[in-house]
């Protein structure tokens, strides 16, 4: 059983959703990333999603676009992101780390090379936003060969047939995009999400994490009542943007923000 599966089962056994914070690797600079990852775990993160910056993040809203721009301006490459995971693993062998990003930087040398390096650094899974299940061959076999999970996105527009196919092709969890839009949008409809998750569970077997538009503990609580995982990205990235480079208080800020989100997730236990 993979580290990711184990963690999700552990959370399920506790009767709650997993808290999955996102931050862009190398934002505001590559050296800062391991400390921020630790801070999120101290605050209560169960799984971490670490963004691989890209010049053209077409599914992301302004917050994560700017995070990518900051990371790239600081010289961040895929190698830096993997080095951050490697550094994080020196002190944390348990928290699963999922890389999230776009295919082009991941397959630049080759999918095989990237997956081997990611596995070596201690990565657990990869979510490529522009990897559709029809094109899964671009990355999924290389991930599988390294024992890494291939995580697909589900959307409100996904048909049941495709959801089933993703559940069969992917592993770890499926990431349900809670709204039609880009990351950081503010149009969360928790009831619609709960209804959609219920219908998805009829065709998929993998755990369902939910992201896009979850901004605070109250949102996290609403979504955690029906989801297996709650992803929070832009709201945390905004804190990094506000702090900028060289702010020593940023890890504490992120830890506190994660702790509040975790409270939201815990509060939902009673409603499950």
């Amino acid at each position: 059983m993979s580290r990711l599966q184990q963690r999700l089962e552990h959370c399920a056994a506790e009767g709650r959703a997993a808290l999955i914070p996102y931050l862009t690797g190398g934002d505001p600079e590559p050296a800062a990333t391991p400390a921020l990852m630790h801070a999120l775990v101290e605050g209560g993160a169960d799984i971490l999603e670490l963004g691989v910056p890209f010049t053209d993040p077409m599914a992301d809203g302004p917050t994560i676009q700017l995070a990518c721009e900051r990371a790239l301006a600081a010289g961040t490459t895929v190698t830096h992101v993997l080095d951050a995971v490697r550094a994080f693993r020196e002190r944390d062998a348990d928290t699963p780390v999922v890389l999230m990003g776009y295919l082009n930087p991941m397959i630049r040398s080759s999918a095989e090379r990237f997956c081997a390096d990611a596995a070596d650094a201690g990565v657990d899974g990869v979510l490529a936003v522009d990897l559709t299940v029809e094109e899964a061959d671009t990355l999924q076999p290389a991930l599988q060969a390294q024992g890494l999970d291939c995580i697909f996105l589900l959307a409100p527009t996904t048909s049941p047939e495709r959801a089933r196919r993703m559940s069969e092709t992917g592993s770890g969890y499926l990431y349900y995009v809670s709204l039609k839009g880009v990351t950081g949008s503010a149009a969360l409809d928790a009831q619609a999400v709960a209804d959609k998750l219920a219908s998805l569970r009829e065709v998929v077997t993998l755990p369902l994490a939910v992201g896009f538009g979850i901004r605070d503990a109250a949102d996290a609580e609403k979504v955690a009542a029906s989801a297996d995982g709650v992803v929070v990205g832009s709201a945390l990235v905004e804190l990094i943007a506000k702090a900028g480079r060289g702010d020593d208080t940023l890890p504490a800020t992120l830890r506190d923000a994660a702790a509040k989100l975790r409270q939201g997730v815990e509060a939902a236990r009673a409603r499950r």
Binding site: F54, T55, D56, P57, M58, A59, D60, G61, P62, Q65, E69, L72, T77, V78, T79, Y102, L103, N104, P105, M106, I107, R108, V129, D130, L131, T132, E134, E135, T138, F152, L153, L154, A155, P156, T157, T158, S159, R162, V177, K180, G181, V182, S185
Partner: protein
């Protein structure tokens, strides 16, 4: 028929061109893309839709566009006969309208009420705003801030036509960023919105759909060549940014192996300087904007900024079918610098009285070079993809005139 296998592709997968093309998009767009593909296949095979489209092309766009023998230019070059396929004479002044008329008609049949488009030079934006005005559809055009500054006449035209022009301030603030922003809009407004992509790139079915809509250029060229010269041309030359005018010209000739197909990319300050937009000449395969194709990218897979005097060619990718035509050797791709394109622009203007777009000027420059290496009984057809009115301000500024 649109999905007939090309002779160059032994085992075509739908939506792919050899290893290129495909659908690499955020999941939310897959449903709308499937809906689009289904509507496109139905309507493209529907005689009533096709006659509706043909009527628009004839009476609104002004097709067929003439094939013109540029005798003075040919004499000055002293080699092959140069013919111009006059897409600049279309309504709105470029080949772009062939595509937007078709896609807007499709949008209307699908019940979509809102059109979005990306634009570089503004020609596709104008062509989209034009058809939206005519069909009474709301229209939003995304345009990089840098391009807005250098294509003011087209920005004003779009606004006159009732379109909202949104300045894109992310990334390099040019065409690729406009396309990112249009994709973000589409993912947010999928229910009522039709995204008219202006070139033969993007996720399937766009590359094939845009090719089919632009292939009217090549079909007419074929007929007109046989009529005027009694034979097919020896070479076709067209500029390539995303490559829609070129693929439209080339596609009906792909099985005519004796016809050379030559695409001309923007060499900017020279390919060796790194300041250019020649994705096929100097790029490497990768994935951007929904398809696998040649891209200008760094060693880490980040997309590089491009440079060209012409906003319409200033794009780090290229249509996936061109990537495949390059790999299998059916088409050749070359780069022409800003300075050479300017010379081509002036040569055509003075010898034939035709002011072409700066994008087109790249093809003019190469066609002139090529003609000189050929015999007078041979012929080159140059796709005169657009007129130059939109570029007068930037040409004047470049050459020290104040308008």
């Amino acid at each position: 028929m649109s999905d007939a296998p090309s002779a160059t592709d032994p085992a075509p997968r739908p939506g792919h061109f050899g290893p290129y093309g495909g659908s690499f998009v955020a999941e939310t767009l897959i449903g709308p893309l499937q809906e689009l593909e289904q509507a496109w296949r139905e309507l493209w095979g529907d005689a009533k839709f096709r006659s509706e489209l043909d009527a628009d092309l004839a009476h609104y766009v002004g097709r067929p566009s003439p094939l013109y023998h540029a005798e003075r230019l040919s004499r000055e070059c002293g080699g092959a006969q140069i013919y111009l396929k006059r897409e600049d004479l279309n309504h709105t002044g470029a080949h772009k309208i062939n595509n937007t008329v078709g896609q807007a008609l499709l949008a209307q049949h699908m019940g979509k009420t809102r059109i979005i488009a990306e634009t570089g030079a503004g020609q596709h934006g104008v062509a989209s705003a034009t058809v939206a005005a005519r069909l009474g559809l709301k229209c939003v055009v995304y345009m990089g801030e840098t391009d807005i500054a250098r294509q003011q006449p087209n920005v004003y035209r779009m606004r006159l036509l009732g379109a909202e022009v949104v300045a894109v301030k992310s990334g390099t603030r040019t065409l690729k960023d406009a396309m990112n922003e249009a994709l973000r809009d589409w993912v947010t407004n999928v229910d009522d919105t039709f995204y008219i992509i202006g070139t033969c790139a993007g996720p399937a079915p766009y590359p094939e759909m845009v090719r089919e809509l632009q292939s009217v250029i090549g079909r007419e060229t074929r007929e007109q060549s046989l009529e005027m010269m009694g034979r097919l041309p020896d070479a076709l030359v067209a500029c390539v940014g995303g490559g829609s005018n070129a693929i439209g010209m080339f596609h009906p000739f792909i099985d005519d192996r004796e016809v050379r197909l030559i695409g001309v990319e923007a060499g900017g300050d020279g390919v060796e300087t790194g300041r250019h937009a020649a994705s096929l000449v100097a790029g490497r395969p990768g994935i951007l904007h929904g398809n696998r194709t040649y891209l200008l990218q760094d060693d880490y897979g980040q997309i590089q900024g491009t440079h060209s005097v012409s906003a319409g060619l200033d794009y780090p990718g290229v249509g996936p079918e061109h990537a495949w035509l390059k790999d299998c050797g059916r088409a050749e791709y070359v780069a022409v610098t800003d300075a050479e394109a300017m010379e081509g622009f002036h040569a055509l203007t003075r010898s034939e009285g035709i002011l072409c777009a700066l994008e087109t000027a790249h093809a003019v420059a190469h066609a002139m070079k090529l003609a000189q290496t050929m015999r007078p009984e041979q012929s080159v057809v140059l796709n005169l993809s657009g007129r130059g009115d939109k570029d007068l301000y930037s040409i004047a500024e470049r050459e020290g005139w104040s308008l």
